[in-house]
């Protein structure tokens, strides 16, 4: 019997001590160390991608669109309309990449988690450590993009400052859910399916145009998916249009993160400790 | 005597300033099992690549099956089976499909490929793995599959680059057994190895290669006879005292080699040497009398150990 299961037996199956040793920062530290040896182009590109999109779509296409009228009746420039959406999308993409492909490789090729589980780390340490690393990267990118928005005059309200914690929450939601889903994946082909979910969310979640262009049932479907909540949350903050809905979006992500962490922890335990 | 399968004269290969092969002469007869023995980086693999018509020679003459690799690469390769040092099986295809797809490269009709695939799976003792994924095979099984794949075109010459490196002893013996059977069937084998026991097991004739040159040539027994004594005494005095002890016993046997961990005394009669040593008042921690091997030949020829 390995040490962690022994502990689990002593404290009772599912005891928190068996799951979490309060050492997620060791896992996070490994992530940062590994990042130093990864290629800078890949790391840097995470910042440039949304900026390219903002210039091409917001500024270029914006010349054919003019102003966008918000539900409150206020009209804003097209660039100011899509910039917060691109920020939400990049938070999603970064978190999903770090929590799916990265985790998949470590699970099946690097065998990193087997090694971690053989130490005194618990599954929750690993889950939180990995998610924490994804968040850190997301916040760095978000800060960069917000600076670009500020320079371009696309932050319309002081509440734009609050997008930083909001991006953290969104990334946490996607990272924890992404890791939970990845723990069920066993082949590359299955991993491709994740992409098939991300693309329609990216195109249809009020990213480039309001939901009102769709018939009502499709609007409901989109409103059930996570990216729409992220886009609306961030857009509310950068434009200063906060409503009761804002709290709803936050609640959606809190729930998503909780589900993700619980499922991931359970899966890691059953994969490596049972 | 039939015409040689491979003839090389003054064969050289340079990569920029680096001289990988510095003038090699060799001949391999049909049905012969021919080995290139030498340490890593001796130029064995480069020589194999030139014979396999996948590396253009810098100088010298080379004929394989009576053809020049520079102009008749595809023709020569159509009669070769190549087992590379590092397996390059297609992990995205199943075991049997690997054989069939490879046979197609030779223009062999699909039905023939399929029939041969089944025969070869039996030969390689992999019948029950036909539908398995390559990644699920053990190291020894992968090697056997690679050999089976190299036989799919019924080659006249089978070229093996370090065939058993990285395998456990049992897997090595299974592999040697399969190669023996090919030898019995008259397939010409050309192999490189840095294992003396492998060379002794498999090769009718071999060349010892070091720094791109041939140091000696002959059958394993011949090489041992010419370049070493019949027996070797291995004496261990403890790592601090080997050098001093070697000086004390200077003159014993035909020749003495001092290695960091032991002293080797080459002599026709090993037991006699052991007696003389103890008469000198020396008491080694261990003393062992054994027959000379190719390792000793190599040490004699190059002053270095094969596996460093």
């Amino acid at each position: 019997m390995s040490a962690p299961t022994l502990t689990a037996a002593v404290t009772g199956a599912g005891g928190v001590r068996a799951l979490y040793r309060g050492n997620a920062r060791a896992v996070l530290g490994r992530g940062l160390l590994a990042a130093r040896s990864s290629t800078w182009v890949v790391v840097v590109s995470g910042f440039f991608e949304p900026v390219f999109f903002l210039l091409a779509m917001g500024v270029g296409l914006g010349t054919y669109i003019g102003d966008v009228t918000l539900p409150s009746g206020r009209a804003i420039a097209y660039a100011a309309y899509i910039a917060p959406a691109l920020l939400a999308v990049s938070a999603m993409n970064g978190a999903v990449y770090d929590s799916t492909w990265n985790v998949f490789f470590k699970m099946h090729f690097g065998k990193l988690y087997q090694a971690m589980m053989a130490t005194s780390l618990g599954p929750l340490d690993v889950a939180l450590g990995e998610i924490g690393y994804a968040l850190l990267r997301g916040v760095v990118y978000a800060t960069g993009f917000l600076t670009v928005m500020q320079v371009m005059g696309l932050n319309l309200s002081w509440t734009a400052v609050l997008t930083l914690p909001a991006v953290l929450l969104i990334a946490f939601g996607f990272a924890s859910l992404g890791m939970a889903i990845t723990s069920y994946m066993s082949t590359f082909q299955q991993m491709d399916w994740i992409q098939f979910v991300l693309l329609p969310m990216f195109l249809f979640s009020a990213t480039f145009f309001p939901l009102t262009v769709y018939p009502e049932p499709i609007q409901w479907l989109i409103q059930a998916l996570p990216l729409w909540h992220a886009v609306e949350l961030i857009r509310g903050l950068t434009t200063g249009e906060l409503t009761g809905g804002t709290a709803g979006h936050v609640a959606y992500y809190l729930a998503m993160a909780a589900v993700g962490v619980v499922v991931t922890t359970r899966r890691l335990r059953s994969l490596f400790l049972d | 005597m039939p015409a040689p399968v491979i003839t090389a004269t003054g064969l050289t290969k340079h990569y920029g300033d680096l001289v990988a092969v510095a003038g090699i002469d060799l001949e391999v007869a049909p049905g012969e099992s021919f080995g290139l023995l030498g340490p890593n980086g001796a130029g064995k693999s480069t020589t194999m690549r030139m014979i396999g018509a996948v590396s253009t020679r810098t100088g010298g003459d080379l004929q394989v099956l009576g053809l020049d690799p520079d102009t008749h690469g595809p023709e020569i390769r159509s009669q070769l089976g190549v087992v590379p040092q590092e397996d390059n099986l297609d992990t995205e295809l199943r075991v049997r499909d690997n054989l069939i797809v490879y046979g197609r490269y030779f223009g062999i009709p699909r039905a023939v490929c399929a029939r041969r695939a089944d025969e070869l799976l039996a030969f390689a003792q992999l019948e029950d793995k036909a539908r398995s994924k390559v990644d699920d095979l053990s190291g020894g099984m992968k090697r056997r599959l690679t050999i089976a794949r190299a036989l799919v075109n019924e080659p006249r010459v089978l070229m093996l680059d370090e065939p058993t490196t990285g395998l456990d002893p049992q897997a090595r013996h299974v592999l040697w057994d399969r190669l023996f059977r090919l030898k019995e069937r008259g397939t010409t084998l050309v192999l490189t190895t840095h294992y003396m026991d492998e060379a002794e097991q498999l090769c009718d004739r071999l060349v010892v290669v070091d720094q791109g040159r041939i140091m000696a040539e002959g059958s394993p027994a011949q090489l041992i006879r010419e370049h070493s004594s019949r027996e070797v005494v291995e004496l261990r005095f403890g790592s601090q005292r080997n050098q001093a002890a070697a000086e004390r016993i200077a003159g014993l046997g035909d020749r003495i080699e001092t290695l960091p961990d032991r002293v080797l005394v080459y002599a026709a009669d090993g037991e006699a040497v052991v007696e003389q040593v103890s008469r000198l008042g020396l008491h080694p921690t261990t003393s062992l009398v054994r027959r000379s091997s190719l390792e000793d030949v190599f040490l004699r020829l190059t002053g270095r150990s094969l596996i460093e």
């Binding site: 182009v41 390219f52 082909q189 480039f208 145009f209 | 039939p2 295809l93 797809v101 223009g107």
Partner: protein, 283 residues
């Protein structure tokens, strides 16, 4: 004639006979192998090949279009629907994105990860045939993507003249190869992937996709960005596609320039790629 001579002739003759078929059909054997390997992710190719165009046409062509204030594309008789304007560019983007996978990771895999190219190299196949076979297999995948995309474009009514659906897939193929073959030459020379492919994806492909007059005419961009279009196979192929689809006004000389750039890129990349394969496999 001595016994010696006949033995020798026997082996030599077998060799001469053994290489006849590989010399003639070698590239096809490689293509066959590559296509077999693609079957492992066949569903991804099919779903991606149909789903992606569907989503883009719906999202950009219809969703975004209903939101535009000013017309973007013009035929000889005035404005055309936005979806008609973007469709050719989306088609070429799709064929190009096939190459950012198949002419990068697949090549690295053949040389380094799965090492199957070395297995081919030991057979009678020549390095040039390995390159050709790979390109043929990718052309098949690209053709599937192009035909599927064109069919959906037609279903959306996003073409000016229906006959143009016969030409659009060919332009997709040409555009894909004009981008892909130089990329193949680059990838085949790499010993290791230390992020170069991700860099190609994010610093070459994405900016090209965004700034090649894909969503609006190149002239909309500031002048100092126009060069991106000029060097972009996507722009040249999209412009030709628009000329074919809804007769976007274009002089004969312009057509010739677009075609010339695409053919030159594809042919140059092809020659270079073959050379890199030969150098690497028979060095």
């Amino acid at each position: 004639m001595s016994v010696e001579q006949t033995t020798r002739d026997d082996a030599t003759l077998a060799a001469l006979a053994g290489a006849v078929r590989p010399r003639r059909f070698g590239a096809l054997y490689v293509a066959e192998h590559q296509l077999r390997a693609m079957r492992a992710y066949g569903w991804t190719i099919v779903i991606g090949g149909l789903g992606q165009p569907l989503l883009y046409l719906l999202g950009l062509g219809l969703g975004l279009a209903s939101f535009l204030d000013a017309p973007v594309g013009f035929g000889p008789d005035g404005p055309v629907p936005y979806v008609t304007f973007v469709a050719p560019a989306l088609l070429v983007t799709a064929t190009i994105s096939v190459t950012t996978e198949e002419f990068t990771y697949t090549v690295m895999s053949g040389f380094k990860w799965r090492r199957v190219f070395w297995g081919m190299n030991a057979s009678p196949l020549a390095p040039g045939q390995v390159a050709t076979g790979l390109v043929l297999a990718v052309a098949v995948r690209m053709a599937f993507v192009a035909v599927a995309y064109t069919a959906l474009i037609a279903a959306f009514g996003a073409v000016g003249h229906l006959w143009s659906v016969a030409v659009l897939p060919l332009l997709g193929l040409l555009g894909g190869m004009a981008f892909g073959l130089p990329l193949l030459a680059y990838s085949a020379g790499l010993r290791d992937d230390a992020g170069q492919f991700a860099a190609v994806q994010r610093f070459v492909f994405t900016p090209m996709f965004l700034f090649s007059g894909t969503f609006y005419p190149l002239a909309t961009l500031p002048t100092w960005l126009h060069w991106i279009g000029w060097v972009s196979p996507l722009w040249h192929a999209s412009e030709l596609g628009r000329a074919v689809s809804y007769a976007q006004p274009m002089s004969g000389a312009t057509v010739a320039v677009h075609l010339g750039v695409l053919v030159a890129l594809a042919a140059g990349g092809w020659v270079l790629a073959r050379r890199v394969f030969v150098g690497r496999m028979h060095g």
